[in-house]
Symmetry: C2
Amino acid sequence: MLIHHAKQSDIWSHELSIPVLALDVVIFTIYKDQLCVLLTKSQNNCTNWFSLPGSIVSKWYTLNEVFDETLKRKTGITGVYKEQLCTFGDNVARDPRGHVISLAYYALVKSEDFLNQVDYTQVDIVPIVDALKLRLFYEHDKILIYALERLKGKLGYTDIVKVLLAEQFRISQMQEMYEIILGRKLDKRNFQKKIFSLKIICETWKKDTSTNRPAKLYQFENKRIKVIDML
Amino acid sequence: MLIHHAKQSDIWSHELSIPVLALDVVIFTIYKDQLCVLLTKSQNNCTNWFSLPGSIVSKWYTLNEVFDETLKRKTGITGVYKEQLCTFGDNVARDPRGHVISLAYYALVKSEDFLNQVDYTQVDIVPIVDALKLRLFYEHDKILIYALERLKGKLGYTDIVKVLLAEQFRISQMQEMYEIILGRKLDKRNFQKKIFSLKIICETWKKDTSTNRPAKLYQFENKRIKVIDML
DNA sequence: ACAAAAGTGTTCCCCTTACACCCATGT
DNA sequence: ACATGGGTGTAAGGGGAACACTTTTGT
């Protein structure tokens, strides 16, 4: 854990006149056709309490490094799509150890990339609908709500959905991703018309024969995330 | 200055294992029909160098308190519209004194509320088009560009423009605010049609006789900032 | 009279939405 | 044969963009 780079004693020292900065991550993934988040479990007199994975930002580490380290520690992977959300610092007493300001990120990862590397004694994969009902440590409830809104918004004006799809995919799989994250059904014909008109995906001339009627496989024209009116 | 709440010696100490958090503010205002920002001047071997107004976040102060203090110090006013932008922390060496992470806000203020309270030896009011060409200290160039984009975006889906207008105003004054900030002309008829259809402003039945042909005066239905499709 | 800004409607186009049936394959 | 998901087109409505002339006042 990053916190070891710092001397614990001085981080929480009463002498120290500046607050500690923590970096907390909402790790989103699609698991069993549901939008889920990774939560850290803490045992607290026999009941589970949850919080978001996070690290203290130590001196001379960039935020990207701290993010990578946090994600790696919980999932074993790096190089995922991430976005900074915002900084929560108006509840100075939220952490009993001292004044902590929390910088929130979200990450978007494919569950198949990390599922077998997770230590399930430390981490739970929780459907977002359930996570939103939990009381989380610190102000992590707020962060979760905010992260979900941002993710939904981002789907509408960028092609980030590509980070959740395989290299090649059925158009219906792409639509499913939208439906799962947005939490509502979309019209099949209108969806296809829109996506094709954007010219962001192209046919591969291969077929996916895993369903009954074989389906065309598509791939994105390029890997870079584009800002573009999707919905 | 807030920095005095902290012991300078330990903030910049090499022993200290956490970075310092600074809060920097892009203070936007309309001045002489131009969108401007307030920049702090520093004398550096006979040439002016500029940076954004900012403060170190001291322990046990909320971000709101630090923001208020920073704004008050530069403009003498409080209680303005503000929005958090983002946190810059990937250039660990940007400040020669040590590792500083910068949390950026922007503020939107009426110039007539503070013009006579500014100490012009410390602060300049700079048109945004000029400010964008300046080389600012730290990563403040980036913050400026980002702040402007966010402000423009926000005009399109909220009624924040109300914080820049007088209690009562001509519809053309409202349009001018949009044109100044967006940096482009809008169609008069389409603008009015849109604004009236939103039912966010109402007639006051007063006239502004300061122009040639007297104009109707309007006011906003309420003071709360609304999320609403404006443009 | 002239200058300056206020006030006011219509048309066109595009994008969104709603909606239903046939097709290719596996079992 | 039947079940499953794939594939396809059209019509109606709403919102945005383009566009010019008359009115009211001050000078």
